[in-house]
């Protein structure tokens, strides 16, 4: 029987074995670490330190700047060299306010408050503590995990889905994590189950990662936890898309505009679960992550355990440097990643992969030609949209039609680009059109809010007026009674 997979989607050549041939290794230490304050989703963090101050490894250096925000910890001991705008990869090289830590190389650890065993804490306390570890979703969306957990708990029975389906060709950091640190993933799963008061956890992986499957099975058996099970899904791209994976595993669809919590599911990356384990069990906040360094443009392709803030150039140096075939630097996967202008930017919480791409890695792109309406894009779209129609309406900036054809449900996976015989950069067009539509939907939302407030005010004024008239009539009656 075929394993459940995505609707549409593509079977891509995996380029993972290049980077999984060698064991995970810690990256070399660097002198300067740059930590952008806005490297997570939500409000930027607010610095707790000043330039010149001494910091220890794991010390909180910035606190959340809003309800949806995250803590930031120093990845090394040393001094705060500066708090200034520095080029950041998630801004494609534009400067963003960052804390610069000069590493003294001594790695003196900050004394974290001693953690109580997690199962003796209440789920609320546990969620709060998870937030203090600076933990955000490591699959790439970097949404603060504590906020996600808290917003999902609405009194219903939840199930936890750990996403280990790493569908992007080239990226293998989750695969390596599951192979070498499966126990940490399973421990993290148990912590998260407690934090969500959930009773089931599915760890979903693709069916082409036998070593990870074996390691996870062994770790689950060792934990003697009946609540955790392993599921394999077909390895079509984008099997690891959150919505696609939920449909493949639980056979339910997340509603358009809705969240996984609407179908009683919380979906987190396996790397996030491991980060929860390091924080709750070992009192190590999120200061490191695994990064895949791959592509034909780098000498030695492998996975590295990297301190956040390490310059990308240092990772390339660690892997033997660039080859002569190097042509383009990409952060993220080959399908959804973005080109970076230079390698002078730091690793952030979202950096899962660096591709030093040669011409062999890049899909050759000829000049764009008109759409011939072949419909290939509609066949591969995992969100069952009609990219050819969206493209048509995007050209005319017809926001009504784009909304009606479900632009906001596009996950920007790039399957449509990949199959387009006319070489139209469809996903890029859709990404460009989304802000205009988002703005419009927000305007409509605020108009609806204004209507509600106006109606409430009108009702209140009418109520006050009718009360006044009633009081007046009553008084008049009383006076009439008295005089008669």
């Amino acid at each position: 029987m075929a394993k459940p997979g995505v609707r549409g989607g593509l079977r891509l050549d995996a380029h993972k074995e290049r980077s999984t041939a060698q064991a995970l290794r810690a990256a070399s230490s660097v002198e300067t670490l740059v930590l952008p304050l806005d490297q997570h989703a939500g409000a930027p963090a607010v610095p707790l330190v000043k330039p010149g101050e001494q910091v220890l490894r794991g010390q909180p250096i910035a606190e959340p700047g809003g309800a949806i925000s995250a803590w930031l910890h120093s990845p090394a001991s040393g001094t705060v060299a500066a708090i200034e705008p520095r080029p950041a990869p998630h801004r494609l090289g534009a400067p963003t306010l960052s804390i610069v830590v000069a590493n003294d190389g001594r790695d003196e650890r900050y004394a974290q408050p001693a953690p109580a065993p997690f199962d003796q804490l209440s789920p609320e306390q546990l969620r709060e503590i998870i937030g203090r570890g600076g933990i955000v979703g490591l699959g790439g969306a970097v949404f603060p995990t504590a906020a996600k957990l808290s917003s999902a708990v609405r009194g219903q029975e939840l199930r936890l889905l750990l996403n280990g389906a790493e569908c992007e060709p080239y990226i293998s950091c989750d695969d390596m994590l599951m192979r070498e640190r499966a126990r940490d993933v399973v421990f993290g799963a148990r912590v998260l189950l407690h934090a969500l008061t959930a009773q089931t956890c599915v760890i979903a992986i693709e069916d082409d990662t036998p070593q990870a499957a074996a390691a996870l099975e062994a770790a689950i058996a060792e934990a003697h936890d009946q609540r955790i099970q392993l599921r394999q899904v077909g390895s079509d791209y984008p099997a690891g898309g959150e919505r696609q994976l939920i449909t493949a595993v639980f056979d339910v669809e997340v509603p358009a505009g809705g969240l996984p919590a609407d179908v009683n599911t919380v979906c987190l990356n396996v790397g996030t679960a491991a980060a929860v384990a390091y924080w709750i069990r070992d009192a190590q906040p999120l200061t490191n992550r695994i990064v895949t360094v791959t592509g034909d443009g780098v000498l030695e392709q492998r996975n590295l355990d990297v301190r956040l803030g390490t310059p990308l150039a240092a990772l390339i140096y660690d892997c033997g440097g660039y080859t002569s075939r190097m042509s383009r630097l990409i952060m993220g996967g080959s399908m959804m990643g973005q080109s970076l202008p230079h390698d002078g930017m730091p690793v952030i919480k979202a950096t899962n992969c660096i591709i030093a791409a040669s011409a062999l890695d890049l899909q050759p792109r000829a000049a764009e030609m008109p759409c011939i309406r072949c419909g290939n894009c509609a066949e591969v779209c995992p969100a069952t949209l009609l990219p050819q129609q969206l493209h048509w309406y995007a050209m005319g900036r017809d926001l009504d039609a784009l909304e009606a054809y479900g632009l906001m449900d596009c996950i920007e996976c790039g399957c449509c680009d990949y199959v387009c015989p006319s070489q139209i950069p469809l996903a890029e067009r859709f990404r460009d059109m989304k802000p205009a539509l988002t703005e419009r939907l927000a305007a409509r939302g605020s108009a609806a809010a204004a209507r509600t407030r106006f109606d409430a005010r009108t009702a209140r004024l009418e109520h006050i007026e009718s009360e006044r008239l009633a009081a007046l009539a009553k008084k008049r009656q009383e006076l009439a009674k008295k005089s008669s």
Binding site: S446, A447, A448, A449, A450, R451, R453, F454, A456, R457
Partner: protein, 166 residues
């Protein structure tokens, strides 16, 4: 004679019932149309269209008493959407009803000058101003629709319109 009379009476009753049903249905249609128009309007409740708010303008449009070019806060996009919905000739907003702004503005109270008279609070159609008598007032910028109805009542002219992001 009698069958003919019965037929006549029967036919008259049937026609009356049909007419009543049609009226009720058209009333419902009318209400639905007003809802649809209201959904396109920006809900500033500013009254620049010469009607007392967005819904009164919507009902005037539905009954043909108003034209589609009377809503400056909605701008030309709203005028076009209204024309499309009502099957009328599209036309830009008539400048007699007010200028169309490129950027949305919100009211801002100079708190050092505010005397706490509550007149602006009473004027605000969406309860976006907080304050109490003899206490400083302030505008909740996120809730302000930019209708400018609070500006004329202010006795010390301490309310100005500013870009929403400032």
């Amino acid at each position: 004679m009698l069958p003919a009379l019965l037929t006549m009476v029967g036919l008259a009753a049937a026609a009356g019932a049909a007419a009543a049903l049609a009226t009720r249905r058209s009333n419902e249609d009318q209400k639905r149309l007003i809802d649809e128009i209201d959904a396109l309007l920006p809900q500033t409740q500013c009254g620049r269209c010469t009607f007392s708010g967005c819904r009164p303008y919507a009902s005037a449009l539905a009954s043909g008493e108003a034209d589609i070019d009377q809503c400056p806060p909605g701008g030309n996009a709203t005028a076009a959407a209204l024309a499309n919905l009502l099957g009328r000739e599209p036309r830009p907003v008539d400048p007699r009803f007010g200028a169309v702004r490129a950027q949305p503005l919100v009211a801002w109270i100079d708190e050092s000058a505010c005397i706490g008279c509550v007149k602006c609070i009473q004027a605000c159609p969406v309860d976006a101003i907080v304050g109490a008598s003899k206490f400083m007032h302030t505008v909740i910028a996120d809730q302000c629709t930019g209708c400018e109805l609070c500006i004329p009542p202010c006795p010390v002219d301490c309310i100005v319109m500013r870009p929403a992001s400032a």
